[in-house]
Symmetry: C2
Subunit: 301 residues, 2 copies
């Protein structure tokens, strides 16, 4: 087992091969146009903790699977995460001009190209995963199942669903605890739950293992979102790398608006305990995941 | 073999099962929110010729494959086509307010929800295809290959690439014949080529078959786009169901701007002959495809 930084570096190093830089003006039949490569790379290579793909790789490692054969699936999860940020920042959505300490994609490339950079990353995530599966023909069914988990996590009963309700509640100035739970599970937790389940399928895990991964992913995701909501109130905008205080200003439905700061801290404790409990199934092998959720409790960025 | 209308009806009838209507306010953990179902269905069920999915089914039929096992792949191709129209119509892209005789998605649901309806349809296309593949575990590799073809057609070396260059040329008032060829192949022809290749993979077709399907798809797609460009100049806006004359007005790079009306008609003839020639490999079995490309030459909508 490696550290978060080590897994993140493996993911980072793979992006250049999956999405190469093209010199200005390149546009040949059958190839990508330079402008699309440039706009996708701008957001994909903007740093970030690479949390979701690292957790996928660590999970495959923990289950004794083939980490190399999971690498492109992990990278694709980060492409999906990145596309969601590009679209989320658009004027028609959150209208954010800064992300990870840099101007957002549409500020640099214009709104139309930013929409297409997002579309391209989402589509390319699936293309990358499918091509990876084809390279291991004897494991085709495992890949179909793993890629399907990713699709569930990012899709119309997962991340996109959460975004729809988040935007709806914000625009309509509506929402209650049930809406908050729906949004935070779908918008944030699903992209932790399903990549872990994908790792499970790549390792032909049994139902009990998949259940433990689901619980950990959900608890981790809810804790992650709760600490994100806390940071918006008590964080340092330089350390976090984006505009803070926007949630309260826009009357957004968050853990803070629903439970207050103390109530949110209690939620963090509760989900932390639930995550640790779920991982007990794997004993010492789960050290990566236990350390990770411990570190999230007190995160400052 | 069936007619275009019959294949289209099979596709049409499947959408309700794949994307059911939800009553207002429905939003349960693990399910889709009513608003997303509603915005996706608004555009998906807006009519249209269902050309791409029907061609995929007809191709499976022609190759003697399992049409039922290909149905959800076909429906997913139409979901991808629909998402591309929703995003294309957005204010940051073509800024169109009418499509298929109705207000465009963002006019009805707002820009943010329209972006998410598009994202949802693209993601749901892959989720639907993957779930379909999982239902036929003994054919997992064929499905991986077929779904990969769809991803190639709609992706960063296919449709999205074409959109990027189309938008770039329009905004920068630039472009030559090479750019036009790139755009029309990627933006339009790829979503005919790759679904046909997907049909080939579902039927375990040999390389020669895949090549013939590729040529037909490309020729058909280029002919389709050329007649689309012609309709923008000489068509009837009511029959076509969208605003016409916009291309010339915006100085858009089209067959007309590059080859003129007569030159475009010659291109149509040339691609028609190329499409027919490619299909000669299949003899009488290709009647559907021969008739289809014949009918496209003189289409009025």
């Amino acid at each position: 087992m490696k550290t978060l930084k080590e897994y993140a570096a493996i993911v980072e190093n793979r992006f250049d091969a999956l999405l190469p830089e093209l010199s200005e003006g390149t546009c040949e039949i059958g190839g990508m146009p330079w402008l699309l490569a440039s706009s996708m790379r701008y957001s994909l290579l903007a740093g970030g903790k690479r949390l979701r793909p690292s957790m996928l790789l660590a999970c495959v490692d923990m289950l004794g699977g083939d980490v190399e054969a999971a690498l492109d699936i992990a990278c694709s999860v980060e492409m999906i995460h990145t596309y969601s940020l590009i679209h989320d920042d658009l004027p028609g959505m959150d209208n954010d001009s800064m992300r990870r300490g840099r101007p957002t994609n549409h500020v640099v490339f214009g709104e139309g190209q930013a929409i297409l950079a997002g579309d391209g990353l989402l589509n390319n995530a699936f293309e990358t995963m499918l091509k990876c599966g084809i390279r291991y023909p004897e494991r085709a069914l495992s890949y179909l199942k793993a890629i399907n988990e990713i699709a569930c996590g990012s899709g119309v009963t997962g991340m996109v669903a959460g975004q729809v309700m988040d935007l709806y509640c914000e625009r309509e100035k509506t929402g209650d605890e049930a809406a908050l739970k729906y949004i935070q599970r779908d918008k944030t937790a699903c992209m932790f739950i399903y990549p872990l389940r994908a790792a499970g399928h790549l390792c032909n895990a049994d139902e009990k293992t998949l259940e433990a991964l689901t619980t950990y992913g959900e608890a981790f995701g809810l804790l992650f979102q709760a600490t994100d909501d806390l940071l918006d109130v008590i964080g340092d905008s330089k350390a976090v790398g984006k505009t803070l205080g926007k949630d309260a200003e826009s009357g957004k439905l968050t853990c803070i608006s629903e439970y207050g700061i103390e109530g949110t801290r209690e939620l963090v404790k509760r989900e932390h305990a639930r995550a640790r409990e779920a991982m007990s199934l794997f004993g010492d092998k789960a050290a990566f995941f236990n350390d990770l959720v411990d570190s999230m409790v007190e995160r400052t960025y």
